[in-house]
């Protein structure tokens, strides 16, 4: 076991330390907070790269590409609760991605938050988030993962509500916390169930972990009263946690609202890393997800849990993309797009395995972080304006932002060959097209590609092309952002292009790496059945989407910001439906929130009238009893006591009269006492 495996804990510990230090720092120690956060993140990134290199070395030397390190935490009864971390390709890839994107966003934040009073607090939360996220990634125990999972949930809450003075931010934070908590409850149940069945929460423990052969065999053979295997039940419960965290239907409602947070937060937490934690969880627990009666992961199509993952992913991908079409807020469009892309990742995990889903996770993290930071740059440049209807013409004013944003947009749409999104999305589509159960997810995913191309075209046209539609009130014109913000954009744009190279069908290095194998370069990969067909068809669909967007919006660029949207003119009712997100929020408000409010009213009534009434009754009775006892005390006991006290004082005064100060009388008393005692003894003896 090498140094890096034993000391993998340092990676999350460093940002946590930075968070602790800046939590103690005074508000005005801005430079300290920022440098602690960035410095710790840089060190973490270096350690992550060392870990990555270590995994590369292990894979190339044909070792087992997974090194767990476990330790005892505390004793429960006779059992030791163990925690630990694990280094494998999945961890290594995530580590590098999280720390790299995180570092870039930290640097970007220095510029973005420069004018905020609570700069120090912001970096404290960011560091805490980074530490927890990295801890989540290295966790080798479902419990440790859950702990980190909850901490990232907490930091998400804190950062969405960072501007808590705004009511919308405060309520968005609350909504995010409560919504994800629903999923977490199921996750917790699944974890408890897993512990009761497998007796351990360690993922890998040299054959004794809960994701290893022995435990899985046991879980698969146990059937619950519902008729499904225990493994399926547990997997579905854990997946509920992922649904909440990754904003999958039906718990996606919090993620668009979470855009109330500062834009770097949206980029880091609600696009690149935290929301991907749900996807990572499914990837981490993949052996459990894929376990089913017919064997372990022999045929993915027949694992019931993965079927659910697939369908949820496919539906989310299309559903969220359709809502994005009709949004005006630049960040909300990207938020729905994120939900949609997370759906693609789930779909990829469901139909194609860990590598397919994870590849899209990694590429998406880069280009979505790029898009969010580009959006942040736009918002920053336009003086906190977020509506795309009131932008326009920024292409010339913000050239770097425009160029990088365009790269991100093309990557997100999956523009052929050059952009990473193309390769990762295509891998998903190809896997979906060959799924044995149904071809519907493939069709849905293709429809999603069309919608994605359409809404991104709409957004880019509105923001960067045409003339400015900004209200006249704004005196200053938009400006390009400072270098500290544009530099990360450029770096991310480069990554968004280059990352595609490691996952082409000709050189599937990424999937080979995830599976601990060697990749070989051969063009034959393209010749595999269906690969080229899927590529061409998806490219065609993409071009159709771009074309429709261009047709609808390019000739209306200079219209007034208040005039109706082109799509709205085309079909007002559909536009309204999509604009309101299929009225899911309204539906939740009318059903769950309403019923919860009704239930809390009922509880309040019960509390106020029934329980309080009983308490009042009891308190009245007690008061009555105490009054009774007080009067007994006052008239019977106290009077007696006072009298005896008076008696004591009186007798004291009387007795002190004995002490007259005359020695003669004292001696007389002694004589009397002597006679008295002698008589007492003698009389007593005879008597």
């Amino acid at each position: 076991m090498t140094w890096i495996v034993r000391n993998l804990w340092l990676i999350p510990a460093l940002p946590l330390l930075a968070a602790a230090l800046s939590a103690l720092a005074h508000r005005r120690h801005r430079l300290f907070a920022a440098s602690a956060a960035i410095g710790s993140m840089t060190l973490s990134l270096l350690l992550c790269l060392i870990a990555f290199a270590e995994v590369l070395r292990l894979v190339s030397q044909e070792h087992i590409a997974r090194l767990p390190f476990n330790f005892d935490w505390f004793q429960v009864g006779s059992e030791w609760l163990k925690l630990g971390w694990v280094l494998d390709p999945l961890t290594a890839v995530m580590l590098v991605m999280v720390s790299f994107v995180g570092l870039l966003i930290f640097i970007y934040s220095v510029g973005y938050m420069a004018h905020d009073d609570n700069f120090t607090r912001f970096f404290c939360f960011l560091s805490l988030f980074a530490g927890a996220m990295l801890g989540l990634v290295i966790a080798n125990s479902l419990l440790l993962l859950f702990i980190c999972w909850e901490i990232v949930g907490l930091t998400s809450y804190l950062l969405i509500g960072f501007w808590y003075q705004k009511p919308s931010a405060a309520s968005a934070a609350k909504k995010a916390f409560i919504t994800t908590r629903i999923g977490d409850l199921a996750f917790l149940l699944g974890m408890v169930w897993l512990y009761s069945q497998a007796g351990t929460l360690l993922f890998y423990n040299y054959g004794a972990g809960c994701l290893e052969q022995a435990a899985l065999m046991k879980l698969v053979t146990q059937t619950t009263s519902l008729g499904i295997a225990a493994s399926t039940g547990i997997a579905l419960l854990i997946f509920c946690g992922a649904i909440g965290k990754s904003g999958q239907v039906p718990l996606h409602v919090w993620l668009p609202d979470a855009m109330e947070g500062p834009t770097p937060v949206s980029a880091l937490i609600h696009a690149a890393t935290m929301v991907a934690a749900g996807v990572f969880l499914v990837a981490r627990a993949y052996p459990l997800m894929a376990a089913h009666g017919g064997g372990l992961g022999l045929s993915l199509a027949s694992a019931p849990a993965l079927k659910v993952v697939t369908w949820v992913g496919a539906i989310t991908a299309v559903f969220a993309a359709s809502i994005a079409v009709a949004q005006d807020d630049i960040k909300r469009i990207l938020a729905y797009s994120t939900v949609s892309q997370l759906g693609y990742m789930m779909l990829g995990l469901g139909v194609g395995g860990v590598a397919v889903g994870m590849f899209h996770l990694i590429t998406h993290a880069f280009f979505k972080a790029l898009l969010f930071m580009g959006a942040g740059s736009v918002i920053h440049g336009c003086h906190e304006e977020q509506s795309i209807r009131r932008m326009g013409g920024l292409r010339k004013l913000m050239p770097i932002t425009f160029a990088t944003y365009a790269v991100g947009m093309l990557a997100l749409c999956g523009f052929p060959l050059l952009f990473s999104g193309f390769w990762s999305k295509d891998a998903i589509l190809h896997a979906a097209s060959t799924w044995g159960v149904s071809r519907t997810p493939f069709y849905l995913a293709t429809l999603g590609v069309l919608l994605t191309a359409f809404y991104m075209t709409r957004q880019v046209l509105y923001v960067f092309f045409g003339e400015s539609r900004r209200p006249e009130a704004h005196a200053t014109s938009p400006h390009e952002s400072p270098g500290i913000m544009t530099l990360p954009l450029v770096i991310l744009a480069g990554c968004s292009v280059l990352l595609g190279l490691i996952g082409t069908p000709a050189w599937p290095w990424f999937s080979a790496f995830i599976n601990g194998q060697h990749a070989r370069f051969e063009l034959r990969g393209f010749a595999e059945s269906g690969v080229l067909t899927v590529m061409f068809s998806s490219t065609a669909v993409l071009l159709i989407g771009l074309g429709i967007g261009w047709l609808l919006y390019s000739n209306r660029l200079n219209a007034e910001s208040a005039s109706p949207d082109a799509f709205e003119q085309f079909s007002p009712s559909l536009f309204n439906l999509l604009r309101n997100g299929w009225f899911v929020d309204t539906f939740y408000g009318a059903t769950f929130v309403r019923s919860a409010a009704w239930f809390s009213d009922a509880c309040d009534w019960l509390d106020r009238w029934v329980f309080n009434g009983m308490i009042h009754l009891i308190s009245r009775l007690t008061l009555g009893a105490s009054r009774l006892s007080r009067s007994t005390d006052a008239f019977a006991v106290n009077r007696t006591f006072d009298q005896s006290c008076r008696g004591a004082a009186l007798s004291g005064r009387l007795l002190s009269r004995l002490q007259r100060g005359r020695v003669q009388s004292y001696l007389q008393i002694i004589g009397i006492a002597f006679a008295g005692f002698v008589l007492f003894l003698i009389w007593g003896h005879h008597g």
């Binding site: 002490q659 005692f677 007593g684």
Partner: protein, 498 residues
Amino acid sequence: MITVSYTAILQLLLPEMILVVTALLVLAVDLPISRTAQTRTRFTIGAVISAIGCIGAIAQIVRVPQQANLFDGTLVIGPEIQLIQVAILALTVLIVAMAVGSSFTSHVGEYLAVALFATVGMMLLVSTVNILLIFLSLELLSLSLYVLAAFNKLSSHSAEAALKYFLFGGTSAAFLLFGLSLLYGLSNSTNLVQIAHAIKNQPLDPFLAVAMVMIVLGFGFKVAAVPFHFWAPDVYEGAPANSAALISSSAKVAGFIIFYQVMVIGFAGAEGSSDWGRYTAGWVPVVAVVAALSMVLGNLVAIAQTSVRRLLAYSAIAHAGYILLALVSHTEQSFVALLYYAITYAMTLIGAFGVISIVEEQAGGEKLSDFAGLSRRAPILSLCMLIFMLSLGGIPPLAGFFGKFLLFASTLSAGQHTLGLLWLVALAIAMSTVSLYYYLQVLKRIYIAEPASETGPIQVPIARQVVLCAIALSILLLGCAPNLFLTWLRQPIRIAHF
């Protein structure tokens, strides 16, 4: 006649001799500087020498454990006696330390020398079972105390108190001597053990009864038990505070111990019984009556006092009543309880008199009203007084509480019949409840009452402050961890089979 080498006797009496030499040294040192130096300085020098002498004596006792019984009980030395001597010496150290910086008399050398002679009297008193030597050393002690009480020659109170003390003491000494001679007549021996042997199987004849009552009277005077207590309030009030501390602390400890020894050893077999409803004539019922009277009278009269010294005098009478319970039960356990109680009580009183002396010097009196608002004027002093008063009242976790607990528990478990002495213990507990009233009266003045308007902070001499704090701390410590002291007490007593 048994031949004993005189060097052996000298060695056995080395601690006492150290004290005598120290006393002479104090006199000698004080003489040349008496004209030139200030009284306070002379007191400081003399007190330091005396304290060193006492500590030297303690060191000698601790260093050379002795075990001897010379001349048929005339001189008895053993671990338990050495332990008591160490305790008496330690109390004397505290008392002379409290004298540092005093100025109540100009006869500094004489004062300290007499105090040391009194200590020698106490040490001899506890190390003999011969009634003659008991009487002699008791007289050495008493005469020293009369002189000490009179030392404040400028105060008519002091002279009056000393005279009363002397008259009273003389009368009771006469009673005691008469009682002892009757005892000798009955048994033809001066050794307590042999006396007990002689009177054991005789019926309680009138002579024995008279002797018994006379001896109880004599010692009852010494420990200030009702109805032989009349000297106490006057002496406590009139004597210099330092003398009062000596009279009420180490002299009391020695008095109780010799009372216990004479009654328990000398009258073994003539105890009688004071169990409820099972009265049998003997010394125990007499002591029980004395104890009960002391508790009732001491506590009740203390309520009516306006002088803190008189209040402490009556409280001392009450405490004598509690301590006499140990004689009534006279088991090994109750002797341990007696020692624990008497020693911690003595420490508390030394502290209380220390506080009183400071208040007298600074506020001009020791009436309750002089203590008003003391907490604002001298917070540390007040805190010490709080601990002393609460300990006297028997509030946990202070030593006074644990002493009472030990005493009452050993009394309850003694008795010839189960719970036979419950009546006495119940009375004692009821009376200690009453006692809280007047202790809290003192504290109420200190903590709640407003100080007189023109008064400022009190200057507390640093040496006395340190000693007071040490006493207060050890009272707290002994109450919290009584086993520290108890194991130290129990071991030699178990060996000696009292």
